[in-house]
Symmetry: C2
Subunit: 312 residues, 2 copies
């Protein structure tokens, strides 16, 4: 049996055929156009699937897993809302796609799929309980408990980025204030750079953290301070998560981990201050290893698991 | 089969015989003396157990469950540290007690036992996933997932009270700053009362929240503001927990819930601000129903479960 892992991002759609041992056999990556209606995306995926099948010549049973950015009920196969697909409201994505492609389909939040991918083949191998955080524009997060994504009361999953770490802190798009992701993300670093008046930046949003890292590497004090502050805030958030869950295993992923040498010591300093010594000594932080493949692999793993449950 | 549920507090030791249906048949309550060495406490419990057995005339199989304040590994039966029993360090409590009384013994953190008691016979009946918080001098907490206490990586459980909600907030005894329990507990209310110079208080620590509630009931503006601020902070912490875990079911217990009419609307206001509307509409807060019996019942339930696992 084969699985097709799909990773639907804000810009690209990636699909891959994955073996039961977790090898990516063949993959495709296309840009998602500007028409983002539910029907259009379902059609795009089904067309790409056809091309993938034709190219690979796969036969027999096949299952599909897909990671989607946004608020997703995996159990119901529904996307409630997505920052990149504003037209989607209570969209029964799994069901619609299944009817179109006649394979079983399972969906989940993209951060969850990434966590499962890292557990299967990456940084979290051998861990049953861990917290995954992806550091980028915001903070994505997943709780893995007993080897499974923990879905709360209604099939939803945690929004780690919207844990409050400064009750009267910066406004967050979610309506709250001082959320973790307003203080430990690329967005937070952009704000700090603005406030401090860092010189030598091109002003391109997508390049900001790379440019800051390069400045910091050259000894720029303000840039170094921004990474330190980022690390301190990240440490505060991780300490809270460790204290709340009793889980001391952490995987950090996302674009920002490339600059980890600039902030990891600040993270550890903060963790030492804010956890009991017994807890601190058990904390283990690993960096994600699979890059873009993590979501694909986690989606495929979810598809295999669903298929094996259905077959029983 | 019968279970003996034990609740070891900072001041009292309570023991009760509990039926498999969750009825408290007979109970004893004694003051814990000032000699609090491990040996002394084990002896106290075993003596009290003998008296209980004699009085009740129970025969046949029996299992013991006990809630202990502090950092406990339920899996290992070890108490690592306890605020009320400072001499206890890595104390293998379950093993020592078992040898003395020759019944199987299971221990866990007291807040966990309270959560299980409320699930079995109290406010959380019918809930598989919920967060329990006990509001008192600090904030005790438990995560119940799939009907079981969630124990993190090393058999520890969450320390909800040490989630940070204001990164540079008041110092906490744990070494951190701005922990949830520095801002939403009786201790926090005492600090606010001091800072605001509330008049008409006796100065007795144990009576402070009752006196404040009475003042607020009579229209005292400062006392009312303290309860509102407490509710706001409580709401911030609950919003964080809901966002992190995806669990929207909450049970509040502890001494302070008697004054809930003074703070629950502030809690709800804050939750509305700090969670997505879909999440907010699913939030359900219940108040604990069992008072002192919760810990006893949860301990007994844990004892029954351990006995049935062992018997298999």
């Amino acid at each position: 049996m084969k699985a097709i892992g799909i990773d639907l991002g804000g810009t690209h759609l990636r699909l891959a055929i994955v073996s039961e041992r977790g090898h990516v056999r063949l993959s495709r990556k296309v840009v998602v156009g500007s028409n983002r209606s539910p029907e259009k995306i379902v059609k795009l995926i089904s067309n790409q699937l056809k091309l993938l099948k034709k190219e690979s010549n796969i036969k027999g049973r096949c299952a599909v897993g897909m990671g989607v950015p946004g608020i997703v009920s995996s159990r119901k196969g529904v996307v409630y809302a997505s920052p990149y697909y504003p037209q989607w409201r209570n969209f029964t994505f799994a069901g619609k796609l299944r009817r179109k492609i006649s394979y079983p389909v399972v969906i989940d939040n993209d951060a969850n799929m990434i966590a499962l991918g890292e557990m299967w083949k990456g940084a979290a191998r051998g861990w049953d309980n861990f917290i995954m955080m992806t550091l980028g524009t915001g903070i994505g997060g997943a709780l893995v408990i007993n080897g499974k994504i923990f879905h709360g009361n209604n099939g939803f999953t945690g929004e780690v980025g919207h844990m409050v770490i400064e009750r009267n802190g910066p406004s967050c798009a979610c309506g709250s204030r001082g959320c973790f992701e307003t203080l430990a993300s690329a967005t937070a670093m952009a704000r700090m750079a603005r406030e401090m008046g860092v010189k030598g930046l091109s002003g391109k949003k997508s390049k900001l953290t790379l440019e800051l890292a390069s400045l910091a590497g050259k000894g720029n004090k303000k840039a170094k301070r921004i990474f330190k502050e980022f690390g301190t805030n990240l440490g505060i958030g991780i300490a809270s998560l460790v204290n709340v869950t009793g889980i001391q295993k952490i995987v950090l992923g996302g674009g920002l981990i490339g600059a980890r040498s600039l902030f990891l010591s600040a993270v550890k300093k903060e963790l030492k201050k804010r956890t009991y010594s017994k807890t601190f000594s058990d904390i283990e932080i690993r960096c994600a290893q699979l890059g873009d493949d993590a979501g694909i692999l986690g989606s495929a793993l979810t598809a295999f698991e669903k298929a094996s449950r259905t077959a029983r």
